[in-house]
Point group: D2
């Protein structure tokens, strides 16, 4: 596969795509981003890398962080995790409370807000220094020590997080939150406020293309079976109530964030991160989805 | 991959699994089946085949037929099909009416009953002899002219199909049924009453492992992109509200039916059909799911 | 109470109210009505009557008929009726299927379509000639032998009744319909197609103001306790998802129909029928509600 | 009406009723109450009073307090109140979040928790010393200066109020809470922790039987129209998702609390308070409902 030529074609094509959608405005900090930004970084399992645009500029990864915390929690806690959160697509918007009401406070999956808050609660029970430990872990699999939390974003989320406060207290009332809700949310908001570049994101997700091993050292960080399963959850639940649409159009497991980032991966081939801050009405990067659809068309490859 | 040895191990293991679940009883004809039946047929893209148990005994394929009608409708109608049915997981049981109410009669996906009834309605508008044309098509891709509808099953469904009558009239009231509801249901019930063996099922699904081409003649029956997309819908929606669980445990696209059959496929590798009539509480073959989970563990391969 | 002067004031005031809302258009026959029609008839328990406008013109009473069938069914079947239909407000539109799904096919109350269809099914099991018997009963309590079903309306409903077909088959699938669905719906559509004047409606509802006795003959047609309870159901459920609003503004039990009619009653004082075909967005007569609100303001009386 | 003899018969009958249901246990303080307690106080508009049992023992009035705050808020704010809370029955349990999600954070009515929290928020915006002002008001209409908040109950609620925290932050996220959520909840929990006897409750509700006037001084505390409308809301929404059942069986407007109290009233006749701590599964006093049903049977009177 001549990725270089594909990426060049893709870059040309991106410029012809219409720019639609709106930058996330639910927290003040996210609104400040330049809507015209676009970056892409593709990282092949053989060690080659391709990129263009603003691929070295850090942005708020938001919900993409849910993959990191899920992977950590699954590794530490094992299958007991599934007693507290499911693996089914929710069929509802990412911050819905309705399903919780009918399902005893067990969120449908770890990629809706409620589910990721439960995962954060689980990690709080087992990590010594949750924020530091998570950062260390992300730096390790990204192979980049410069990654930081964006404090202003985290504080902006805390200040405007009524919906998430509602979610956590609701689950607490149903017995599915074990730690202090404010501490859990603090950790959760910091995780969402990780600031990363397309390169760092693509690099970190190579572990999911590589059966759980770090590409450069061959260290087996995650169990192979676990990785397969996390990829599966990305496939079915990674894009809120647009998971089916992404799977249909792109055909790869992936995860989006309201900061405009999307990471996707073709197991045993490559991981790819795109960034374009304009979101469609489902909260996914409009141009990001289009770029990934185009990428799998150009490569002629998908998991299907 | 030494499939022969894997299949042998699998057969041994199957016998040690506990037998749980109940045979479908919502129509009298399905209740008559022997719950102890078990068959498996694996059909590799290279032309080799492996099987054991009751793999040559025909059973009612039920909802597995929804893949055939979807593939036909997508091929004939193209992307206009998606104006009338979605591609998102429903997060609800297969025969739910609730979501329709909030979504203007557009079913979430073509694998819930409402969605497949809409697909049947679409086919009724374009096929000359819907039942004969469908049968001809299934015989062709299964490479077996002996396949038939089971009339007693079809009539049993018609006689007891109140829920599906409710679904179709509800969608008609919302403008999403164009033909006579009774004729649509007649076609729909016949499609569900297709009687096939594991061998026939696995053979027919090779077309989805093979980018839309018939394995023996290389005839391109379906567009390559369409096949990729139908596989994606199987991945996210093929198992009612247990789609995530199947994807998580097995990691392959597939489709189940309440007759106890499941077909799954590894694109560009193999298709596999299992049959065990005992269903779990979500309506999927209990032992069938277990067998496929074991199969992907033994092969060490999945799309993820 | 000087009703004559109150009615005169009301007539003057009505003419100053803005005319808003739309005539029901879900069946062709209802669309034909002149939207400017307005009639009112008030019938006091002491035998005096007051009216103005088109109070002697017959119109389609539609859902108002649900009170007649409920009263008949309660009288014949007694409290066993409540095993098949509830008495709680639904909080949902009149033709919703959602609640049925969660509540085993037991409709919330007898005044939503699903509930009234169950009542019709109950009557079909106990009446010898359902249509004739109902008509005879309505003529008796209205003291007017001229009342008829409007066949063209009934047939128009049958031809366009997809939603109600969906409702009845859905309940049948859940075991709450005992007779042939088509026969039940035929009876139900005929009941809705009763054609009556404001005078006839107000007269027939005197039985509910008079503890179950016919005003002129003192015949005890309904049990006193039953009447009290039917009035209570009108209070809490008589206006679809606007029952609270009507109760709040008017303060009397009543029942509306999409033909634009409303009947209300002040127990032991009077019954009153209004007719104005323009409906608000909840399906209740816009001017009819306003007129009744004005009436209770002018009399200074309500049950509260 | 010989109330004395009716009350005596009622007392005898009460002792023969089976004792079913469970004392509320969602906060520790409520669990401590003796389940065998029973008190009743009936207060006629003519000034006569009748009582028996533990009618002079104070208990936690809980949701009955929602009538006080609604009446206060309606008096001060007027019809603008209805921009922030509806008057429709909810058809859902008292602490449900589901409806809020579909209706932009506007609670269905002021007697579900969400609705009463909005009312509390409204009062916080207009009262100088909310807790002191409310207490003063309740003492005045109860004609008893001894009424107090039960601090241990209030603190118990605050400590265990996760569901209500979820509700308020959810509404805040939708823009329907204007003050600091913690202050609103503090006020709300104190209002629920009012400790009153059956005598005090019945006396305070005389104002709703008397068109808004204090019985002894004839002071017009509430607008007559407002009282009529608050009574109407009690009729349609006073008993959570059992409002229809209470209306059907008792036929009077009323309000219950999980402390086991119920107040009901017959406008222009009497108000009545009962107390029995065992609750049915809907959260209403089981014996209390039965006693009131019996009372209206014995008097032969209801608003219907």
């Amino acid at each position: 596969m001549n990725y270089q030529s594909i990426i060049e074609k893709l870059e040309q094509k991106i410029n012809t795509f219409p720019k639609t959608g709106k930058v996330a405005d639910y927290i003040p900090e996210l609104k400040k981003v330049n809507p015209e930004k676009f970056g892409l970084h593709l990282s092949c399992i053989d060690g080659t890398d391709f990129s263009f645009g603003d691929s070295e500029e850090a942005f708020s990864i938001q919900s993409i962080s849910k993959v990191y915390t899920l992977a950590l929690a699954k590794e530490i806690i094992g299958d007991d995790l599934w007693k507290r959160v499911g693996v089914e697509p929710s069929g509802n918007p990412y911050n819905s409370l309705t399903q919780l009401e009918n399902e005893n406070g067990i969120p449908r999956n770890p990629f809706i807000n409620a589910g990721s808050i439960v995962v954060a609660d689980c990690l709080l029970s087992v990590l010594e220094n949750p924020k530091a430990d998570l950062l260390k872990f992300v730096r390790k699999i990204s192979n980049d020590q410069r990654i930081e939390y964006d404090q202003s974003v985290a504080e902006s989320e805390i200040a405007t997080g009524s919906r998430n406060i509602a979610l956590i207290y609701y689950m607490k009332s149903l017995g599915n939150i074990h730690n202090n809700p404010e501490e859990v949310l603090d950790f959760y908001f910091y995780q969402c406020a990780l600031s990363m570049t397309c390169r760092q994101l693509a690099t970190s997700f190579k572990i999911f293309t590589n059966d759980g091993k770090l590409a450069d050292t061959d260290e087996q960080v995650f169990d192979k079976q676990s990785v397969k399963r996390i990829n599966s959850i990305m496939q079915t639940c990674g894009f809120y109530d647009e998971a089916g649409e992404f799977s249909y159009r792109v055909g790869l497991p992936g995860k989006s964030g309201v900061g405009g980032g999307i990471v996707a991966l073709h197991p045993r081939h490559y991981s790819v991160a795109v960034w374009s801050p304009r979101l469609n009405e489902k909260g996914n990067s409009s141009l990001g989805m289009k770029a990934l659809e185009e990428l799998t068309s150009l490569t002629g490859l998908s998991i299907f």
